[in-house]
């Protein structure tokens, strides 16, 4: 005989899960109790939302499915923001929650919450498991759904009695058969032919690369495609890292917070090729203006994204890593020299200018310097707020990655994401950059970092205001700073030290760079606090 809890753990083993992030509670105890007897590492986070964020960082760094586990009621509810964050950024997660006994479901017993109902609109799929015998199929399907097609979070809610009940034997299904779920991955040959023709006849093409290129694992194919065609590349925030930031062909991030050169390029193009990008409002504020003068080829694994935000001339539904080589085989094309030069000129012309304040760190310059100091495969985790924009536009990635909460804009993402990334890639430099606002949303994870002795470096841009909204108030609300001043900011250095984590504060770029150099030499976690002037803008 085998219990539901044991089956759940055996399923995770079948899926080669070696690390998961969680927080215990009464109705998930049977699962954790069995997990305790295995090699799977359970990382105790300090709040359930961070379990989902850490699983997200882990999933992105390792190109696998991240797993997070919480108990029923408040545990599951706390995890919601993390699940929704992963959903918006198409990160594959399997989120497991304990649930109250199935015979009292719906009676509002202690710590009961309808978590499958509450998560309906931001999971790719969810299960409330009522029979122990269903567990193997449900787990198999959940991992399959989370990781194929457009990736996303899948929730499995397991009542405690389903975990304790026993069945005869454990058989893990070999394959999945869900009649309504067969993602198209190959790209329609006719549409690919038409797209190739459209590229050949274009004079001013631009590629807009999104997170889909990275999650598809199509980076080498993308590289080949742009090298052979010479088409200039802009990226969305999720697409940062698709190519080195200093590559002459890369114009930068587009959008309301992006590089002006990237926006100007898109608005002057006669062909926009969207690759795994959903054209969110922050990336293209007025898609109608773009389509007035440009044709649009949209390649995406999710047919629902094509034509949702921008009118499309040619839709191609498929996985980027399959579609790009096919398209390349059809298209013999070299971008006109004139257009390349024009784009390069815009790029030089609209280079952002740093603004220095005496006695403060200039964050854009520092981010650029820091990203030059780390090793080439470093993982930069940016939080949300001005710090995110400073990082997105100034981080000089080489072969590294850039993790942030792009779609949902969830403050507090960077530190737990860095925890997950470091556990996935222990030999890489992992840096979390946050503001003093966002850091205070997840600084409880310093305990996780200390416990696991993770070599994560945290940069806190301390400007004593909630900078992004503060800046918005300057523009739209006549500088009335309604609840954006962080009147009390703790002494982060003392705070870090209280967790046994070394820390220092810098008030100039020279000082920050000197501390950063030492910090990177050590294999211990570190919190570098940078005093930033409250009037430093995100641009």
């Amino acid at each position: 005989m085998i219990s539901g809890a044991e089956i759940m753990v055996r399923c995770l083993q079948e899926e080669n899960v070696s690390v998961l992030f969680g927080y215990p509670g009464a109705v998930i105890c049977p699962f954790f109790d069995y997990l305790y007897k295995t090699d799977i590492k359970a990382v105790l986070v300090r709040q359930e939302q961070n379990a989902a964020h850490s699983a997200s960082g882990y999933a992105r760094a390792k190109s696998t499915v991240g797993v997070c586990v919480a108990t029923s009621g408040p545990g599951a509810l706390n995890m919601i923001t993390g699940i929704a964050t992963a959903y918006m950024d198409s990160i594959p997660l399997v989120c497991i929650t304990g649930q109250v006994r199935s015979d009292v479901l719906g009676r509002d017993v202690f710590q009961e919450a309808d978590i499958t109902g509450a998560c309906e609109s931001f999971v790719k799929h969810s299960y409330l498991v009522k029979n122990t015998a269903d567990l193997p199929r449900v787990f198999k399907e959940a991992f399959h759904i989370a990781s194929t097609g457009r990736p996303g979070p899948v929730l499995i809610d397991v009542p405690v009695d389903v975990q304790t009940a026993e069945i005869e034997e454990f058989v893990y299904p070999e394959r999945v058969n869900i009649i309504g779920y067969k993602p198209s991955v190959s790209g329609h040959p006719m549409q690919i032919k038409r797209a190739a023709e459209m590229i050949r006849s274009s004079k001013r093409p631009v590629i807009c690369a999104g997170g889909g290129v990275l999650s598809s694992g199509a980076k080498p194919r993308f590289r080949e495609f742009i090298e052979k065609t010479g088409i200039p590349v802009v990226s969305t925030m999720m697409g940062i890292g698709i190519m080195p930031s200093d590559d002459p062909q890369y114009v930068g991030m587009l959008g309301s917070h992006g590089r002006k050169a990237a926006n100007v390029t898109v608005h002057n193009a006669d062909l926009v090729i969207l690759c795994g990008a959903r054209v969110g409002d922050r990336a293209v504020a007025s898609p109608d203006q773009v389509v007035e003068h440009a044709n649009v080829i949209h390649i995406d694994i999710d047919p629902a994204e094509i034509g949702k935000n921008m009118k499309t001339s040619i839709p191609i539904v498929g996985d980027m890593k399959n579609v790009l080589p096919k398209l390349l085989a059809e298209v013999e094309y070299h971008t006109p020299q004139e257009w390349k030069e024009q784009v390069a000129q815009w790029k030089a012309e609209y280079e952002p200018k740093p603004q220095f304040f005496d006695g403060y760190v200039e964050p854009k310059t520092f981010i650029a310097a820091l990203s030059g100091m780390v090793r080439s495969k470093a993982i930069m985790c940016a939080d949300v707020g001005q710090n995110q924009i400073w990082c997105a536009n100034n981080c000089r990635l080489r072969d590294g990655r850039f993790f942030t909460s792009g779609g949902m804009g969830t403050m507090g993402y960077s530190v737990p994401a860095a925890v997950g990334a470091k556990l996935a890639r222990p030999t890489r430099d992992v840096i979390a950059v946050c503001g003093d606002g966002s850091f205070q949303m997840s600084l409880n994870e310093l305990a996780t970092i200390a416990t696991e002795n993770l070599n994560v470096k945290i940069i806190v841009m301390r400007n004593t205001v909630l900078g992004m909204v503060h800046e918005l108030q300057d523009v739209l609300y006549e500088s009335r700073y309604a609840i954006t001043e962080l009147s009390t900011v703790p002494d982060f250095v003392m705070l870090a030290k209280s967790y046994g984590i070394d820390s220092a504060i810098a008030s100039s770029n020279e000082e920050a760079e000197r501390i950063a150099k030492d910090m990177l030499r050590s294999d211990k976690p570190f919190v570098l606090v940078c005093n930033v002037h409250p009037n430093t803008s995100s641009r």
Binding site: T116, G117, E120, S121, K124, H125, L128, I145, I178, I179, G180, Y181, D302, P303, A304, G307, K308
Partner: protein
């Protein structure tokens, strides 16, 4: 413009909530939704009448396709399908008006399923337009209550 969508789904608990929550979160407006098991007991069919332009309906179709237990989505075009709605209409009916209402009922092809001293209840299964006509005819007598199933539709095999 009104569109009729026919959606095949797996017949599991929770599928209806997955579909209906989609309408709420994508801000789609639906006029009616009817669900029932098909010839295959593992599969249910939802018939959805929704209001919107072509963009909305295309999005609706694509978003429905993303729901894992949704097997197939079909939007019917004008003339391609037969649709019916079942309604029960309780109308004021003192004895002296019985004959009038019986005549209307006969004329429209409704059947009388309940009669009391002061009311009469009609059962009517027809198209939306015919239902509206019947209501117009009954209104002067005072309609007390209407219960409707929502539209169900099936593809025409004749004159395809």
């Amino acid at each position: 413009m009104k569109y009729t969508l026919s959606v095949l789904v797996e017949n599991h608990a929770g599928v209806l909530s997955k579909v209906s929550s989609l309408f709420a979160r994508r801000a789609f407006n639906i006029d009616s939704l009817a669900v029932g098991i098909t010839e295959d007991p593992n599969i249910s069919r939802m018939t959805i009448v929704a209001d919107g332009d072509e963009y909305v309906i295309e999005q609706l179709e694509k978003q429905l396709n993303k729901v894992i237990p949704v097997i197939k989505v079909r939007t019917y075009r004008e003339g391609e399908y037969i649709s019916r709605e079942l309604s029960l209409i309780k109308v004021n009916c003192p004895a002296k008006q019985r004959l009038d209402i019986m005549k209307i009922s006969e004329l429209m092809g409704a059947s009388i399923v309940d009669v009391s001293v002061n009311t009469m209840t009609l059962q009517f299964a027809d198209t939306l337009e015919r239902f509206e006509t019947l209501c117009d005819l009954l209104k002067p007598y005072g309609i007390r209550e209407i219960v409707r199933t929502g539209t169900v539709a099936i593809e025409k095999e004749s004159r395809k």
